[in-house]
């Protein structure tokens, strides 16, 4: 009854929903629901204190009985400055703030108060802190509980956990900033028991890593039902759908949320937050209710956040997989909390950015982060890769997906929009431009990178290298695959990958296997070079020069075979011209290299450089005047996405003073301004 009415009103026929209005799935479950939680939590912001209980129902998917269960207690990363997270921050740095010197109230921790079976059997005494990654005894971000009797194969166990926690100062996308508290990775969460052939394991293996400075998370799908009690003055947004709320006599309010088939639960409690609502409706795609929480009085960005979200749901829904969840919450943190908490993905819940005065009509910063985080709803939210060990499978995909959506909506990067309001009008033209996301090159200036892409996050040389490898370089590597497969086959690959691996845990091998299957050619060698190797690429035309061939001189055989001295003669006017083109390849990425020469008379000559060759010299000798090589190019018409210096991909015989003068003149002008500025204080 409702659907036809909707068609009449808005002219769209939405797809049938996969979840009802309370977040319960309609029909068969979308996931295997290995780990489900009923959470009941009370938050006291004055004391930064959380008390909670969790009833966990866990299924042993393996053929082996499991007596020891592994858990995360992520907030203990903020317990002291000897946690693995804090140590790694000091050594390798990272994108997140350091634990540094904290005040007494700024540390955070999680303390397991009790762990029981439903029959009352106490498990708390079996708790052991584990450090599977680095053996750091001061790290308490992973623990185990041992059951009196193992969970049988494909059997279930229910545990009742109670814990207390101190909420840390806002850091690494969780914690308190003034009246805003973001709860990410905040409850005792069970690890993932990987079962063969999942991600290549040969025997059932717990995958439960410590909290590192440069890693994110990994979890099984399940059902989450959460009751969140906070002071009445606080607004709450959370994963899933709000299914009820009631005010308590002590001045608090309890919000209840539910969502089936998700891998995590995050929420925000925020005094005085403003809320904006909307609905995504599109033909043959499920409806998604949207909520944006923003700082009070800072709501100017809300329309753009909603618009970018809808663009992503539309594009992703058509190109990748329809977004099935009925509700999506976006949090734009208060000014002062954007760097530490903005730009983070959780299931049906993401943090983006706030801009007091966004650029119009489309603010690149707002759109980019919103598209990126919403696209994580697919890449890790549904296609639930292991962010600890193969971060590129979600960050690289989300970066590529951001490219995909930004190209679809015709949005480029404009650095002028990064300038603060009040300065854009005069500083803007200095950095103007509409750089397409796709034009952004892989980071690095040398054709060999410091790390492979597909490796555990804590095994990169630096935090910066983690980010560069798993985001931009991984996205560029996906573009290389697209160039190899062609756009249509690649689109089919992405769609098939999302469809086949949604609500499961794929690995790099799974993706490359599927790429080979879809393309019909074995892409694993290239994929391994891209994602498991360190080879980069810089193909260039190193030299182009033309000159008359030197006149023949010396002894040459006459007709009868007798050597005859030929005296040197001046080059004949209107004779031949000899052109030499030197093609260089720096980097070992095994990609084909083709060269195109365009002659002055318009004719073209194409050559393939043999695989493995690091340079090739092409020499032509043709009659003047049309025989001059006017232009030499590598990868004509489609530069390689991994090429670190596309500017040297082509070289003309004639000088191009325009670009050189433009750039040189700009350098000179900038230096003059600097000198004048310094001179004004002398």
């Amino acid at each position: 009854m409702l659907a036809p009415l909707l068609v009449l009103l808005v002219g769209v026929t939405p797809a049938p929903p996969r979840f009802d209005a309370s977040g319960h799935s309609i029909g068969a479950p979308l996931s295997d629901r290995v780990a489900s939680y009923v959470l009941d939590v009370r938050y006291d912001p004055a004391r930064r204190h959380v008390t909670g209980t969790a009833r966990l129902t866990w299924t042993n998917r393996s053929d082996v009985p499991q007596a020891t269960l592994w858990f995360h207690a992520y907030w203990n990363a903020f317990k002291n400055n000897e946690s693995t997270y804090a140590r790694e921050q000091r050594i390798a740095g990272g994108a997140r703030a350091g634990t540094g010197n904290r005040g007494r109230e700024e540390w955070g921790w999680t303390e397991i108060r009790s762990a029981r079976l439903p029959d009352g059997t106490d498990l708390r005494s079996t708790l052991r802190w584990e450090q599977p990654d680095d053996g750091n005894p001061a790290d308490q971000t992973v623990f185990t509980l041992t059951l009196p009797s193992p969970v049988p194969p494909r059997g279930q166990v229910t545990l009742d956990l109670a814990w207390e926690a101190r909420v840390p100062k806002l850091e690494a996308r969780t914690g308190v900033h003034e009246k805003y508290t973001l709860f990410g990775q905040w409850f005792p969460k069970i690890g993932v028991l990987e079962v063969p052939p999942q991600r290549g394991v040969r025997a059932p293996t717990w995958n439960c890593h410590q909290f590192h400075a440069t890693t994110e998370f990994y979890a099984d799908f399940g059902t989450y039902d959460a009751s969140l009690t906070v002071p009445r003055t606080m607004r709450v947004g959370a994963t899933g759908v709000r299914t009820g709320q009631h005010e308590n006599a002590d001045g608090t309010i309890t919000h209840r949320f539910h969502q089936d088939d998700v891998i995590d639960f995050a929420w925000v409690a925020w005094e005085g937050a403003a809320e904006t609502y909307d609905v995504f409706r599109s033909d043959r795609l499920p409806e998604v209710a949207l909520t944006v929480l923003m700082p009070p009085g800072e709501t100017a960005a809300a329309p753009q956040i909603l618009e970018a979200t809808k663009a992503t749901l539309e594009h992703g829904g058509r190109q990748w997989l329809p977004y099935p969840y009925p509700h999506l919450t976006l949090v734009a943190p208060p000014i002062g909390a954007n760097i530490d908490s903005g730009g983070m993905e959780y299931p049906t819940f993401a943090t983006v950015y706030t801009r007091t005065r966004p650029a119009r009509p489309r603010d690149t910063l707002l759109w980019e982060v919103t598209i990126h985080e919403v696209s994580h709803g697919w890449w890790q939210g549904m296609v639930a890769s292991n962010e600890f060990e193969e971060a590129w499978l979600d960050e690289g995909f989300a970066t590529w997906a951001t490219t995909d959506v930004m190209n679809a909506v015709g949005l480029g990067w404009d650095l002028a929009q990064f300038l603060p309001p009040g300065t854009r009008w005069f500083l803007g033209p200095l950095v103007q431009g509409q750089l397409r996301e796709r034009d952004i090159r892989p980071p690095g200036t040398v054709p060999r990178f410091e790390s492979s892409i597909a490796r555990p996050g804590w095994r990169f040389k630096t935090g910066l290298e983690t980010g560069r490898s798993t985001y931009g370089r991984a996205a560029a590597a996906l573009l290389v695959l697209e160039q190899e497969m062609g756009p249509e086959a690649f689109a089919r690959l992405i769609h098939t990958y999302a469809e086949r691996w949604a609500f499961r845990h794929p690995s790099t091998d799974d993706f490359l296997q599927l790429a080979s299957e879809v393309s019909g050619k074995d892409l694993r060698p290239l994929g391994n070079a891209l994602f498991r190797g360190t080879a980069g690429l810089d193909d260039s035309i190193a030299r182009l020069r033309c000159a008359p061939p030197p006149p023949a001189s010396g002894f040459f055989d006459a007709d009868g075979g007798t050597p005859v001295l030929r005296a040197p003669r001046a080059a004949e006017a209107g004779g031949d011209v000899r052109c030499e083109v030197l093609v260089e390849r720096r980097g070992d990425l095994p990609l084909p290299l083709d060269v195109q020469l365009t002659f002055a008379d318009g004719t073209k000559l194409r050559r393939d450089v043999p695989p493995g060759e690091l340079w090739t010299r092409i020499v032509t000798e043709r009659p003047l005047p049309g025989g001059r090589v006017a232009l030499a190019e590598v990868h004509p018409g489609a530069r390689s996405a991994m090429d670190t210096s596309p500017g040297n991909d082509a070289r003309s015989l004639d000088a191009t003073p325009g670009p050189a003068l433009t750039l040189g003149g700009w350098f000179l002008y900038t230096a003059q301004l600097l000198a004048a500025a310094v001179g004004s204080v002398l």
Partner: protein, 306 residues
Amino acid sequence: MNRLLEPIGVGFREWRTVGVLLWANWLVAGLMVAPTAPAVWEGFGHAPLAAGKPLVSSELLMSLRSFFISGGAPSVGAPLLLLVVLQTFLVGGVVWRTCAGGKFRLGAFLGQAGRLVGRNARLYLWLLILLAVAMLVPVGLAALMKVLGLRTLFTMPVETWIFGSPFGVAAVLHLAVVAVAIALWRLALDVGRVLIFRDDLRNTRRAAWHAVQLVVRSPLSVVLYAVLGAMATGAVLLLMRGRAMLPEGNAGLALLALGVGQVVLWTRLAFQVAGTRFAAELVERTVAEPRHVAQLQLPVEVAPPA
């Protein structure tokens, strides 16, 4: 208003003086960018893919680092040191032009500059003390604002610059106080230079002290000098914006942009001369003319004996 317009008029009429300053600017800037020239030519001198594209763009700015690594990085430190020497030298000539007037002669300009360079350098060092003292006011104000929960442009978190709106009322007012403090110091510096020239003072400490007294007793002049600085900044920013809006694409447009860029620099340097003229006018109005001033108005065209 005339106290502002008259110096500006002098600044723009003294085109030869501005020309000398611009020459020095070119020398310093040229030395800065000279190491990049081969890389620019190598990278863009035969680059058909770059022709007709907006080079001064996000794309270029994002890859400048790799460009400099593959080519020659600009040199900054040594040319700026040269700038310090050149500027300290040339201000003597500028003061001569703004105080004495008359016909411009390059030899006389350089002569005056050379005669005064030592004293001007010592004066600058003495007046750094005034700068430190003057800056205590905005620093103290910033501390007070912090207690009150207000932020200045200098104590604002980076995040406010990116996501928020940094130019709030309190921040702008604090910036104005900073500008006045700098204006006070800068005006004292100009006044001190004028006094040294006008009274041929050898004792630079006394000249500095006299300049400070004179400036402190004339708060209106400090404010007007700050306004003059704000006008210079506004004019330069406006012209910079005009220059940035020029299209790119070929050599002609590149040369046009470079030419307009010189107008920007010319304006900035003309206002520098205007500032010195403002100080000279302040000294003329408030200090009795010394007996030997006529002798200092060099060079003087002396008529041959009859």
